[in-house]
Amino acid sequence: MSATATKVKVNNGVNVEALLGARQALTDVPEAAQFKWRATCQWVNGTHSRSTVQSFFGLGAEQSHKTEFSYEADHPEVFAAEDKGATPVEYVLVGLASCLTAGIAAVAQNRSIQLRSVKATLEGGMDLQGILGIDSDVRNGFDGIKIVFEIDADASREDIAALVAQSQKRSAVFDIVTNPTNVAVEIR
């Protein structure tokens, strides 16, 4: 190891220069920073539904993913459903985990920390008395979310903790989950 590792360039596969360039560009042209993220959801049967994402708006124009992505959602068999996909609340965990993980990679790159592995394990607690309407004092959603990161990187434990803290500070899904959001539902 030591013989060759004199000056290793950190590479987490994140193009930090492009991100910093975008930050500067969007500071100068704040209109271009206005994005719209979209999803559509089609009921299949029972609690099974299929959601797709493809188009979004940003940088002042319509944009598109390279392909359409599709997600099956359902409830498990213990809910007397057919279990054709993850439950919607699990998708929330997926969104939170992938957002924080992406943030860790970006922040690590920016701080010249080489990552070797990052693994997040999430658990959201829920009291079903909420959604089943048994107890009106119990909320429908998670009563808390616990996340455990296992990170192997060229950094001290403290620097890794700072990395994880910074990724929470800059995470969209962390903000969505921890802060209220107005939701407008219409019927066409």
Binding site: D143, F174, T178, N179
Partner: protein, 440 residues
């Protein structure tokens, strides 16, 4: 030339420089200008040291020790260099300074408008107008409170105060108090109100955890020794972010106590996350409290590490007094911020348990009288280390304006020396090339 859209009053006088505000910064600049033999006047809306007289709570003491209370050609000469000035002492210190430097202060003169004119600026006041070639804005960084948009949704049954209106717990009713903001102000008010027996809930967002003393010295001594207070605005990564950082959690008290969130928890204060909304009479708190505390703990530890490293590197050969005198915790004794397993996410503001909300959410300068195109799209003054984006216009005392210490009393000295030099050069160029401003 079009005439000014603003009201015109009879001309009181013509002067090279008008300094707006006779606080410590305006007076320090006045001293500098006198040294440079630049003719000027200092206009003060109230009395000398006005905000210290009228916009502070009763028990407040400076967060900086007396040895740091210095202005150009004026150091602390009292018997207690390590003490913390009370407000009457600060007022006395600044008033004595104004007298000592014979500053040309006009009190009771409120500036209502500054507009550009052919040869510089026209400064309108409630007592006539001044014509000048340069203006130094030293009216302070704390003109207007930062209030969230949802402040309007606070139920009518509650009283609301800003940190400027708060004086002492006796002015509050006996119900509970929600203190919003965990800077030095928020923590001090939460502590004082909790001591008065009222239940206190403190909303905690991003904050800077600090110790009063470390390795036997006051933390301000360490920040001074490490050069952190002298860090320049053009040497930091992201000046916009740094200028928004809240004040460190500190209190100046005779017993040199550290006031942090753990101390408040011990006093019975309930910690909740950042206040993010008021909906249907219910306050909503962010679930990010744990991360905000983790970040503050990490940053405190990093500061202590850098102090430790400094001691290892320079400690033995330094002239600085390193034999600490104040009792302190070691780095190992500093426990992480303790939080409830499930901090509350909501609080009913209508059930009568909460009587008062105190906004300790910071302030921003009031420049509404500055009728010049010098603001960015967010309404912030465009300036380069106090040199405003208009010829002959300067500002003083803003957060991290030229250096981290710019908003401190002792920060004025370096800033007015450099800005005074720039101003003097500007006035000289103006004399040599009088036609230069024609395009303005």
């Amino acid at each position: 030339m079009t005439s000014s859209p603003f009201g015109r009053s009879p001309l009181t006088g013509t002067v090279d420089v008008v300094v707006v505000g006779a606080g410590h910064a305006g007076l320090a600049m006045s001293h500098r200008l006198s040294r440079l033999a630049i003719e000027h006047v200092v206009l003060e809306r109230g009395e000398i040291a006005n905000s210290w007289r009228h916009e502070r709570w009763n028990s407040l003491r400076l967060l900086t020790p007396n040895w740091q209370s210095r202005l150009p050609d004026c150091s602390y000469e009292g018997a207690d260099p390590d003490g913390f000035m009370t407000m009457p002492e600060v007022i006395g210190f600044i008033t004595a300074y104004a007298k000592r430097i014979a500053a040309p202060v006009r009190t009771g003169v409120t500036v209502t408008s500054v507009v550009a004119s052919d040869d510089g600026y026209r400064v309108e006041t409630n007592r006539g107008a001044w014509r000048c070639r340069a203006v130094v804005v030293a009216s302070g960084a704390h003109g207007l409170p930062n209030l969230p948009a949802f402040a309007a949704a606070v139920p009518d049954s509650l009283n609301t105060l800003t940190a400027k209106d708060y004086r002492h717990p006796g002015q509050l009713d006996d119900r509970g108090v929600l203190v919003v903001g965990a800077s030095a102000t928020g923590l001090q008010l939460a502590d004082e109100i909790a001591r008065s027996g009222r239940p206190v809930t403190l909303c905690v967002g991003e904050h800077i955890r600090m110790l009063r003393t470390y390795r036997g010295l006051d933390v301000q001594r360490w920040l001074d020794v490490l050069g952190i207070l002298d860090e320049r605005y053009d040497a930091v990564d992201d000046i916009v972010r740094v200028r928004r950082v809240p004040s460190p959690q500190l209190i100046g008290s005779p017993d040199r106590a550290t006031l942090d969130l753990n101390a408040l928890t011990e006093r019975g204060v309930t910690l909740v996350g950042r206040l993010v909304g008021i909906y249907d009479g219910e306050a909503q708190f962010s679930g990010s409290l744990r991360n905000h505390c983790a970040m503050a703990d990490l940053k405190l530890r990093r500061l202590l590490d850098s102090i430790d490293s400094w001691v290892v590197e320079y400690g033995t050969q330094s002239a600085a007094p390193l034999e600490g005198v104040w009792p302190t915790q070691s780095a190992e004794q500093i426990v992480p911020t303790r939080l409830a397993a499930q901090p509350a996410l909501t609080l009913d503001l209508t059930d009568g348990r909460i009587g008062t909300i105190i906004w300790a959410t910071g302030f921003h300068p009031d420049f509404r009288w500055l009728h010049l195109p010098v603001f960015d799209r967010k309404g912030r003054l465009r300036h380069d280390g106090g040199i405003v984006d208009a010829p002959g216009l300067y500002v003083l005392g803003l957060n991290f304006m030229r250096r981290r210490k710019s908003s401190f009393i002792h920060g004025a000295e370096d800033d007015v020396r450099e800005l005074g030099e720039h101003l003097a050069a500007f006035l000289r160029i103006g004399v040599e090339r009088p036609a230069r401003r024609a395009a303005g």
